[in-house]
Symmetry: C2
Subunit: 476 residues, 2 copies
Amino acid sequence: MAEKKLVEAITSMEEDFAQWYTDVVKKAELIDYSAVKGCMIIKPAGYAIWENIQKELDARFKATGVENVYMPLFIPESLLQKEKDHVEGFAPEVAWVTQGGLNPLQEKLCVRPTSETLFCDFYKNIIESYRDLPKVYNQWCSVVRWEKETRPFLRSREFLWQEGHTAHATAEDAEARTIQMLNLYATFCEEVLAIPVIKGQKTEKEKFAGAKDTYTIEALMHDGKALQSGTSHNFGDGFAKAFGIQYTDKDNTLKYVHQTSWGMTTRLIGAIIMVHGDNSGLVLPPRIAPVKVCIVPIMQNKEGVLDKAYELKNRLERFSAKVDDTDKTPGWKFAEQEMRGIPLRVEVGPKDIANNQCVIVRRDTREKIVCSLDEIESTVETLLETIQKDMLERARNHRDSHTYVATTYDEFKDIVANKPGFVKAMWCMDEVCENKIKEDTTATSRCMPFEQEQISDKCVCCGRPAKKMVYWGKAY
Amino acid sequence: MAEKKLVEAITSMEEDFAQWYTDVVKKAELIDYSAVKGCMIIKPAGYAIWENIQKELDARFKATGVENVYMPLFIPESLLQKEKDHVEGFAPEVAWVTQGGLNPLQEKLCVRPTSETLFCDFYKNIIESYRDLPKVYNQWCSVVRWEKETRPFLRSREFLWQEGHTAHATAEDAEARTIQMLNLYATFCEEVLAIPVIKGQKTEKEKFAGAKDTYTIEALMHDGKALQSGTSHNFGDGFAKAFGIQYTDKDNTLKYVHQTSWGMTTRLIGAIIMVHGDNSGLVLPPRIAPVKVCIVPIMQNKEGVLDKAYELKNRLERFSAKVDDTDKTPGWKFAEQEMRGIPLRVEVGPKDIANNQCVIVRRDTREKIVCSLDEIESTVETLLETIQKDMLERARNHRDSHTYVATTYDEFKDIVANKPGFVKAMWCMDEVCENKIKEDTTATSRCMPFEQEQISDKCVCCGRPAKKMVYWGKAY
């Protein structure tokens, strides 16, 4: 029964992409729904992906001098209100604790939606001199935002993330750190998750509440919608002025610090699903897959088959190989391995053993490779590298072939209505046009990419002189 | 200025142990106080210790088949109330969320003080057959308990921990897992934290709210007070019955699962401080120390000194060596390294270099070892092992020499009043005596140790026939 449920057909993505996503998330056993509306349970297969993301990102952070800390879960209302734009952005969507133990609280506390205010209050106390700078702190935690509509990984009332918060002596140092982290995120997405991203700056309208500038990486999902996959904010000295974070510089004058923050979330798991998944389920890039090789013994009751499977598992231990030695049929096991997105399947039965070989099947292409048992380690290693490379390549091709250029507003509207993907178009930088585009088409400005192109000299919406080329798209 | 504050004398532990503790916690830069009463900020030096605890424990968990998951932060009131004893134990000390976004919630949500109820609700949905058992899940997260009096690491309104929650087919399997995890905790404390512990069972009065049996490991702090350092609970089928968690067994009958939970917290950092620290600050066991070697260049402006220091750092990289190349004096650097509890200091100056040697100083004993530069890797390795062993040995000696035996109530009261430490004494197992002892002496039953001794045949309090030997003590 349980087996049957797991491997039964999932909705095809062509038929209903949203339902396909929900099916994969559930049937690959990544999450479960909980008794708390809008909050999900991350199951072992999902959490193991997050652990790998954490491990990889954390090592990259630390190599740039980041130190981890842990800040309180709660923010007193008065602290949240210190920076005007910030509180306006977040107050409507926070959860409030009003009672502690049996008594009402004197001041209500919000459950952190993000921790800028806590870090500012902390930095105000520990930064005195230029010698105390920079502070480059990060924390791994969960945050809460009281969303009305939720979807697993993409938008939930509680999610896991990391939030880096830094304080610097100069505006230049802050800007350099903001860009450094955005580049780190982009490289991580491409190298580890095999997801190509567009790097750029958010418009005034789309930037983070309280930021001077917000930078973003935007990825394109299989259905042609964009997913904001990581953001890095330069706060300038706005928070420093609101919180009074000053340091004594070498010239003995008091100056405000310049701050940044940057974050990535469990939303990345949603991106992995929607960039790489197919109609058989999840497809995990080898570098992020908790199990990279699933060994399926064929006719496992025959003498020597299971022993050989275990022997191969030991030889492939550095690829986190596992043997499926349950009493399910090989067919069920294949379907399960495909649903879970394990990059390689190794099939080994009595005939294979007699021929000193096995069959290796790629999850991404289903290509079958007959491999000598003597060379299994090197073959698996090479195949995993190839899969990683091919997955990035395919995702990039998909993105590029779904990126369009519009020079007139009719063209723009036609593309948004009929061709899912990114639209590159010029913009006058007036929010009126940005709002009109959103109203007319539901597409939003994803970013003003660092790599600007001069598509035309007129705003695609109003025809006035254009200032920036923008990536537009419908977004998650 | 900042230097001076850091290394200025801390209160001596003989004069005021509580103040000594607070001084060390602050001056070793482990924590800072936050704007939220009772919630602390864990600073980089403190969080790095927690990361090492996590890494070590998590690997040990996974070796026994534990899988990590993540459950929601919130528990609906109705869910918390499903198990009667559990809700009675926790309801008085939870924080309640009553407002989400701009609207009051229909049902208030408590911020998890522990997640038994969430795991039960989850298990009810995912367990159908004996094939689904056991479930051996764990999560790393923060929990909230609205404590009135708080102390850094020891008791705070929010703390970090891991909570394991398992479901088994039989009572025997659940009991075996409960004991397995208690043993894992004890071994971890001894091998990694160099803290010897007493393993035993909690009395009915002291057990966890909703548990059938609670097991504990109890450590003795330097001031003679006990610290409960980890607990493992066998729930029997009590929660299963309250939540309706049943499975179809091989014989096709419906049976209730048997459950366990077990946890360790950031409180362990408090234990490390209070077991190993001294009047110069923190003393970290090498296996948990984020930095194991601090290299202090002497006369670092002389040619070749800093180069040699960096060379040694590279050679000692696997011991997370760092060089203190700031412009502070060597004296300040020594004091700082001692305050932070870094296990070894390597001093290297022009004369040392001329003689192809360096001076290594142990943090725990202050012993100085002159070491040939050719042999620094092996010497450091051996010294770190020796320190780890010696620290456990010293802690064990301290514990044993502060463990007393009482056969009469006068003797018992005298020991508790005048000799800080554990008291071993017999007990009739009547809660009346346990309450009387607490009222008369403030000592509580720490545990009924697995290793029972027959000290006498009478209860130390009432004189009736004794059933158990108990460790008593004042506790954090």
